[in-house]
Symmetry: none
Subunit: 145 residues, 4 copies
């Protein structure tokens, strides 16, 4: 595998394709304007967002991580919500996901956020077998209203 | 029960007592300076934080809700993370928790955040029996690193 | 403990009180007309409904079980959905719940339904510790739309 | 994809093949007489049963949904139990499952049942990733005796 680096405006085509695969995984649809606005904020760092992109040896995008750094009531330092993580199906099995998670941790630390957290479907065995190694499960489940 | 309203600087004593009970529930300790900084931000709205306080008929604090409005990659509108919710043990059984949740939903909506989410221990039956009615469970669990 | 028997029209007052406690447990509200119609159907056996009532030694109602016998695609015989089970808080710890479950099983068998099933909150430890003994857990969770 | 419509007596061969695949998924065996009786009831609407069939462009059966409309103690209107849902492996990935679920919802509504519910194995990630989008998870698990 090649490298992992911060998302840049020139990455639009690669990022858009990965984002589309990610949305399809969740059977979700999103307005193009929202996708574009998210990409712009991930590149610029606006609203606490930042994005990482994993590249193969040829420089093509094979994975993404989208993060939101936000305040918390438990600390004067912010924490980092890893909102989206995706590796292209063709690139799986080569530790791209693990390296993205480690890069998120480092990037969050650089931004003053000592804790990274994320949500995953309780039944997503494939993802959780990685998360259990790189991170740690909690006893928390997520509610919405 | 009395009212629910936004947290104000004069509420420090009441809020501090409730926050202490909440931390004890999670067997957590927090530096006083952090607690004070969190209170100040909850009152001022800085960093997207806001706090609600439930008062009994005599005007004493009986419940708190601490929230963080933050950006999300899935929408151009922010979402609201209900980070802390606590009702004084003596005040339980009178719908204070439900009314706090409903007030959070309204306050989030007013701040442009159409979705409120929160975390709860999967085995916290008392809390979840309320959350199942006011909100909706998801299939997501929480990881950290 | 006294006896368990089929619900009768004269049981309205006792049943109504238990049903109210049960609804409160789920923080639910139901129109009176619905409650009355359910009671009438549970007594008459209409629409496959039947009800059981547990009585203490003095003949007062201390527990209820409401069931629906309905067809299934897996058998030519119907199955029995135990939709509601409730024991008065004051009467707990005396095997009323277990005896109600056993009586439901017998009543279902008499109605030609060899299988009884029910739903419970995954986090309801108190109830599940009984269900694990009298019945058997499955790997199934419940979805709605 | 072609259409989704109510099950008809002429669909026996198609339905039988899908039902066989469904039973194999659950490693279950069923007497032929039971299967035939279920099919007949799904076509005729007897005992509250109804069936839907998904067809490909050539008119071949690629998916089934078997439902039971039954009474409930919580409402004077019945609810709809989606007991069986199956899409032919060769037809997966084309939204047949989602369309069947939506058609079940519509058919249930037409029969006066405003709520559809179903059971799924807690670890069936493939199915649940769809159910999480079309429906909503609950906190309930299933017991039997």
């Amino acid at each position: 595998m090649g490298t992992i680096r911060g998302l840049q405006p020139d990455d639009w085509d690669d990022w858009r394709a990965l984002w589309g695969g990610y949305l399809a995984f969740y059977r979700a649809e999103l307005a193009d304007a929202t996708t574009r606005a998210t990409f712009d904020r991930l590149c610029s760092g606006m609203d606490g967002l930042f994005g990482l992109l994993a590249l193969d040896d040829a420089g093509g995008g094979i994975g993404l991580a989208n993060c939101v750094v936000h305040a918390t009531t438990w600390s004067r330092r912010p924490k980092c919500y890893l909102e989206d993580l995706f590796v292209s199906p063709a690139a799986r099995g080569h530790d791209v996901g693990r390296r993205l998670l480690e890069a998120v941790k480092q990037a969050a630390t650089e931004r003053g956020a000592p804790v990274v957290y994320w949500h995953t479907q309780q039944y997503n065995g494939r993802a959780r077998s990685l998360y259990d190694v790189v991170g740690r499960p909690t006893s928390f489940v997520v509610y919405e209203m």
